[in-house]
Symmetry: C2
Subunit: 267 residues, 2 copies
C-alpha cells in the first residue's frame, strides 16, 4: 500500500500474540477505525518495530521522536512536531490519546478522567496476572520460577482477584445508579455507551477466563454482574463481535495470559 | 480553615509515608501550588481518606464521585459534575490531570504525551521496586517472603535497573540534541524547563538511593548523566529545594522504598 493511502494509525508490537497491544486493537476494532498492525501485516514489519521500540541503544525513534522503553507504540501519520509521523508509547498513554479521538472517553472531561482511572486499574491487574507466572525474573523461564509462581498465584487468586472484581462491580453499580432511566444498549462501567474502560476491563477478564478457567467458574457466582452480565454484553458489542470471531483476533499462548493447570484453582 | 478559604486541591493518602502520593506532592511543591495533605494535616483526616478511598463496600466516593480502588486520590474543589467536589484516583491519571494545569506538561500536545510516557515508565519502575521486597504477597510481611525477595532483587538490580536507567539516559541525550543551544536552567528529560517527567523519575531515583545505596553508588559511574547531573539538577530546582529540606518531606520507612541491607549489592 502506498504511504498516502495507508491508515492514519500504525500499531507497533511483537507479532503473533495479543499482549498489551490487544487493548489498542480492541479500541480500533470496536470503533471500526482503520489501522495497520505492522508486525502482523508486513514481512519486514517486525524489523521496524525492533528498531523503533526495542533497540537498547536508540537515541531517537522513527525520525525525531524520543526513544521508546518497550512496545507497544503507536505511530500517527503526519502528527509529529515537524510534520512527520508522531510516535507515542506506554499502553495507558496510548489509550488516553486515542480515547477522545475514537469516541471512547465518555462525554466530558470528568468522564475522560474516570475512564482513565478504571483503565489504569485494569492495566495494574493485567500486570499482576503476568507476575503470577513470572514473580522473580521477567526474562527467565516459567520453569525456573515454578515454586514461587504457585505461591504468588495462590495469593493472587485468593486476595487480589476479589479485590479487583469487587471494585469493577462497584463501578457497574455506581454507573447504573447515575444513569437511572437513561437509554443504554449494554452494560457499561461509565456512562451510557462503550468506553475504553469497558474494553480494557473486558480484555483482562477474557484473558483470566483463559488462564484460570476453574477459578473464574467459581468466581462467576460471586461476581455475576461483572463476569456474567458485563462480560457478555461487551463481547456482543457491534464491531467487537465480528473482530472476536475473525482471524485477526490472536490466540492466547505464551504471553501475559497463560494456562498452566497447576496454577488454577484445584477442585 | 473555612471551606471557602481552603486550597483548591486536597490530597487523599495514608499518613506518615511518602508513598505514591509523593509524586503528587512534588508537583504541588515544585510549582508553589497550595494543597491540603488531608491525612497529615487534620486529626480526623485519615478517617475521610479511608471512607473515600479504602472502604471495600463503598458504592460512591465523596458525594457522587465513582468508587476508588486505592489511594492516592485527588479532590478538586467545585469541579465535580454537579458543582460539588471532583475526585480522581490512580497516580498516573492524577499526574496527567495536574500536568497542564500546573505548567508541568511541556509546551504542546506532543510534549504532554511524551511526558506521559516517561511518567508511566517511571511508575512501572516504582512498582518493580515495591515488588523486590514483596514478590509473593502484597498484604503479607517481608519476613515471610525473604528468600523470594532476595532472588527477585538480584534480578532487579542486575537486569531491570540498567534497562530503565539506560532508557532515561537516552531521553536526556535525545532532549539535549532537540534543545540544541536553547537556554535551559537545568538538566531535563523533555523540553527546556521542569516537567512531571523530571519529578517522577527524580523521586524514584531518590528512593533507590535510600533503598540500595551500594548498588546506586556502583551504578553512578556507569550512568553519570542520570544519577549525577540530572539527579542533582532536579534536587536543586527552585521550589523543590526548600520542600526537600522542610519537615513536610517525609522520611522513607516501610513503604515502597525500604532499606534492607541484605537486598543491596554486597561489596
Amino acid at each position: 500500500m502506498a504511504y498516502a493511502d495507508s491508515p492514519k494509525y500504525t500499531l507497533l508490537y511483537h507479532p503473533g500474540i495479543p499482549g498489551r497491544a490487544e487493548f489498542i486493537r480492541l479500541a480500533f476494532e470496536a470503533t471500526g477505525t482503520p489501522y495497520t498492525d505492522l508486525a502482523n501485516s508486513a514481512s519486514d514489519g517486525y524489523a521496524t518495530v525492533r528498531k523503533a521500540c526495542i533497540d537498547p541503544d536508540a537515541l531517537s525513534s522513527l525520525g525525531d521522536n524520543p526513544p521508546v522503553f518497550a512496545p507497544p507504540a503507536l505511530q500517527v501519520k503526519g502528527e509529529g512536531k515537524g510534520g512527520g509521523d508522531f510516535l507515542i508509547s506506554q499502553t495507558s498513554n496510548i489509550l488516553s490519546y486515542l480515547g477522545p479521538r475514537l469516541g471512547l472517553a465518555g462525554e466530558d472531561e470528568a468522564d475522560k478522567l474516570w475512564v482513565g482511572q478504571v483503565v489504569s486499574t485494569a492495566l495494574d491487574l493485567n500486570n499482576e496476572v503476568h507476575d503470577t507466572h513470572h514473580p522473580i525474573a521477567i526474562a527467565d523461564y516459567y520453569e525456573n520460577q515454578k515454586d514461587e509462581a504457585l505461591k504468588k498465584t495462590v495469593d493472587f487468586r485468593k486476595n487480589r482477584l476479589p479485590k479487583f472484581f469487587g471494585y469493577f462491580e462497584r463501578m457497574l453499580k455506581w454507573n447504573e445508579k447515575q444513569q437511572g432511566e437513561r437509554k443504554r444498549e449494554g452494560v457499561y462501567l461509565l456512562g451510557s455507551q462503550l468506553t475504553m474502560a469497558d474494553l480494557v476491563v473486558w480484555q483482562v477478564l477474557d484473558g483470566l477466563f483463559f488462564a484460570f478457567p476453574e477459578e473464574m467458574k467459581a468466581r462467576t457466582e460471586e461476581f455475576g454482574l461483572l463476569l456474567g452480565d458485563f462480560y457478555g454484553s461487551v463481547k456482543g458489542e457491534k464491531g467487537l463481535k465480528g473482530y472476536l470471531e475473525s482471524e485477526r483476533r490472536m490466540k492466547y499462548s505464551m504471553g501475559i495470559f497463560r494456562h498452566y493447570p497447576e496454577l488454577d484453582r484445584q477442585s
